[in-house]
């Protein structure tokens, strides 16, 4: 039930924030903060002292699951189709929930001073997006999963469409149509899967556990898998389904970009790990070379496109695609190192990309442009900002000691076993990443301050956010084992190849 509570609290907090605007436009953000902090508190309790919440293995026995599922709850929803509320979290889920709540807090921080208009509705959308994402990470009924998959989409659309920048209509529309169309393909695939299960067992069910190992008639497996794959590859995103992302990221307000880059993209990766491959192991194995190729193309192609961007947020957005290419590569290598690397990349990229978007957003908030050729020499006026920019850029480049390195290193190592060519090509990504990342520092912070921009340095709220994210990245980089240990049992249960 605790998982349901996490989601419910966010839903309720969202409504509360919306309603409270009438009383005082400052109130919504306070309510949002309280809501997220409450969630964070619960999450921390789950991680540190699960006993306090009464979590034990008793509830797991019901569904015949073994110890991997730390938290599981289930109740009927639409019995006609065997649809049920099944929520569960294992190590991987918990990691991602933690990431979600934490980055939710960060995006709140970035919204704190930036969002001045229609605050109530804004925080409503923010909290509902988070609720949707947590739902995605915990739903173990495919219908429920799809349900949350879409729930996180609409508030995000609102955030872009209302508080976005100059080209928001196009961006919001593109974002919505890409995700929604790919989502429909996934729905189709889910239903096909359910139908095949029904054909062989005579039972309608959407339960993840029941659908694992469904026998799929020859010739269909690939298409069903593809439905899932396209949905997740679009969200991840992977070339050639990535085009919604640069627009959505660059047009979204900062908190929106933070959530998009930090959390929403991870749902795609999560879907691949949790659903696509375990549900279709054989087909996925056949498909893996293609997927890995797509991953490599994503890494290199978008790195190249990023290099030529002048719009700071667009550039960062393209780099996100590039980094997510590593995730794709690692997941489809399906070796313990590859998938663990993918998980670490998800976590670390969540932090680094979120921070970079916060920086870019902060800059835009201050100087009202995202065009890098109008910036320059900002180090002199805003050294703290410069330092943070360098830190998170360097993190994104994959500097050892910070989280992203662990992810990329493990991904490359894990995929090297499967495909030397793919891993070697992806390693070039290390070089091109340096090329595009440093150009940002160069154009924005180095050089002369030609336009005599006066930039207020980071505020206390921002410093706290960045500081927390720095600590997070350092933690991931120096002691990743704490996270690897959490996700390991999950990966074992999903059948990831472990070399011993």
């Amino acid at each position: 039930m605790i998982l349901v509570w996490l989601i419910t609290i966010l839903f309720a907090g969202g409504i509360g924030a919306w309603l409270s605007e009438k009383r005082n436009p400052e109130l919504p953000r306070v309510i949002a903060l309280a809501t997220i902090l409450l969630d964070l508190f619960l999450v921390v309790l789950m991680l540190v002292a699960p006993g306090v919440l009464g979590l034990d293995s008793a509830s797991q026995a019901e569904l015949g699951q073994t110890g991997e599922w730390l938290i599981l709850s289930s109740s009927e929803w639409i019995p006609r189709f065997g649809v049920a509320f099944i929520f569960g979290a294992d190590g991987l889920g918990l990691l991602l929930i933690t990431l979600t709540v934490f980055l939710g807090l960060m995006s709140l921080g970035s919204a704190w001073n930036e969002i001045k208009e229609r605050t109530g509705f804004f925080y409503f959308n923010l909290l509902w997006t988070l609720a949707g994402v947590i739902g995605v990470f915990t739903a173990l009924d495919l219908f429920l999963f799809f349900f949350f998959w879409e729930v996180m989409l609409i508030p995000m659309y609102f955030i872009i469409a209302i508080w976005g920048h100059e080209n928001k209509e196009y961006a919001a529309m593109k974002f919505f149509i890409f995700t929604q169309v790919s989502g429909m393909l996934m729905l189709l695939a889910i239903l096909m899967l359910v139908f095949f299960h029904y054909q062989s067992t005579g039972e309608f069910t959407f339960s993840y556990f029941d659908l694992l190992g469904t026998a799929i008639p020859d010739g269909f497996g690939f298409w069903v898998m593809l439905g899932f794959f396209i949905a997740f590859a679009t969200k991840l995103p992977t070339v050639p389904f990535h085009n919604w992302l640069p627009d959505a990221h660059s047009q979204a307000p900062t908190p929106g970009s933070v959530i998009l880059a930090g959390i929403l993209l991870k749902t795609g990766a999560y879907g691949l790990i949790r659903f696509t491959i375990p549900l279709f192991p054989e087909v996925s194995a056949d498909f893996a070379p293609t997927a890995m190729l797509l991953g490599v193309i994503s890494i290199l192609y978008t790195a190249k496109v990023a290099f030529s961007q002048n719009d700071l947020k667009r550039l960062i957005a393209y780099t996100s695609v590039s980094h997510m290419g590593f995730v794709m590569l690692g997941v489809y290598a399906w070796t313990s190192q590859g998938v663990q690397g993918a998980v670490m990349t998800m976590l670390a990229h969540g932090f680094s990309a979120a921070a970079l978007f916060m920086l870019a957003g902060g800059l835009q908030h201050r100087i009202h442009t995202r065009q890098m050729d109008k910036m320059g020499g900002l180090w002199g006026v805003a050294p703290k900002m410069g330092f943070m920019a360098v830190f998170f850029t360097v993190a994104a480049v994959g500097m050892p000691g910070l989280g992203n390195f662990i992810g990329e290193f493990l991904v490359l190592l894990g995929s090297f076993r499967i495909s030397i060519a793919a891993a070697s090509l992806a390693a070039i990504g290390m070089v091109v990443a340096a090329v595009y990342s440093l150009i940002v520092i160069q154009k924005v912070f180095h050089g002369e301050n030609k336009n005599n921009l006066v930039v207020e340095d980071l505020t206390t709220v921002e410093m706290i956010c960045f500081g927390l994210m720095m600590i997070g990245l350092l933690w991931m980089g120096m002691y990743p084992q704490s996270m690897l240990n959490m996700s390991e049992p999950t990966l074992r249960s999903l059948g990831v190849l472990f070399f011993q």
Partner: protein, 486 residues
Amino acid sequence: MYSNLIIDLMQIIMLTISTVVVMMTTAFKRDHGLISGLTVFGLFASLLTFVFIQPVLPLEATQLLIIDEYSLFFSNLIIVGAIGVALLAYPYFQNHNVQNEEFYILLMTATLGAVVLACSNHFVSFLLGMEMMGVSLYAMIAYPVHAAKSAKFPLEAGVKYLILSALTSGITLFGIALVYAYIGTMGFDEIPAALEAAGELGPVFLIGVLMIVAGAAFKLSLVPFHIWTPDVYEGAPVPVTAFLATVSKAAMLAVTLRLLLVSNAIELNVVTTVLTVMAAASIIFGNLLALLQENVKRLFAYSSIAHLGYLLVIIIAAAKIPGTLSVEGVSFYMLAYFVMSLSGFAVISALSNSEKEYDQLADFRGLFWRNSWVSAVLITVLLSLAGIPLTAGFIGKFYIFTTGVESELWFLLTMLIIGSAIGLYYYLRLIYIMLQPAEDDTNDPAAVSLPLGVHAVMAAMTAAIIYLGVYPAPMIDTLQSLASAF
């Protein structure tokens, strides 16, 4: 037996009585409020009779009508729609400077026709129901034709609907005549036996069936018989448009599905092929036509073309999957579409009156910030139309996918996805416009205070959309049991 028949027909009898009462009252005292109240009361009374009808189901009331759970469901739906339309009509016609009372009589006869249509089990009642609805609608569409300043183009819409509807009525009738000539019976449920007696399937029967399908397709505005839809939707007063979009479609759909299933016509290869072509074309053309539409009423018209195309997918699926899933799906989708349309037109109606309709996209700019309640209703409707979870539209779409997958209609599912993708664009466009800050507040349709009735319609329909989207299980159970009639 006899008393059962009375109970069975109670709804129709109640409606007839109410019609007469409304007419008689009009003759003595012309009072808009009174008549409107009487109408709503009468409709409510007939709606509530289902409590008595339910226990004695199912029963054939002569060979013409059959009252079973299926038809009762649609009758109830129709009456609910009529109540909604009556509630919307009151504020709409309040400023109408010529007599308004006849409108309610026509509304009652149209509703009666729709209920008869939904219950009909015979071509004679089919004809009567369809035409009762049709004839009333001609007048309803053209209703404000006398007004010195009418909001839209009632005359144009009325004439267009009349001519085209009469044309297709003729086609339908001719089709019925051909079918009758071939098999010698006009009762739906006698068709399979008669067909068997006639031996092989004659082309005359097929052509007859296709002509009937064409007639139904016209009322359901399926491509290629869709072409009247936008003009009539736009030209008619909003409450009538709401009626067209909801009641008229639900009634025609109910009878068409019954006819196709009971007569086993759905299993004819020709029929499924034709329906498939119509479904695909409706989905694609409807969505394409709506894409950049600037008039919201026309937008809804085009989107209704697409939605009926979606619905057709479930009907086609009935040819391949045994059991009741398909009927259940059609009923659910129709229910969802009904609720969404009514709600959507309630919003347009809330912003309009007989002298000025705010139906341009630009009129909706900034609505979310001026009147968040009305706009939230519309956003819910649009999201539901787009098939987003949490709304009834999603469960409806879920049914389409489920039935489509089960009967392996891959082509239609592809069309469905393409169509929905295009559809997203215009629904979102409208949402987007509502979310943007208004350019100027002088031209503010939302400033008008609305009567309780309109609020009630919007609230009830929105609640239904959300309820059906979040917790559809009880409704699915109901639909499952009504589908067992087939």
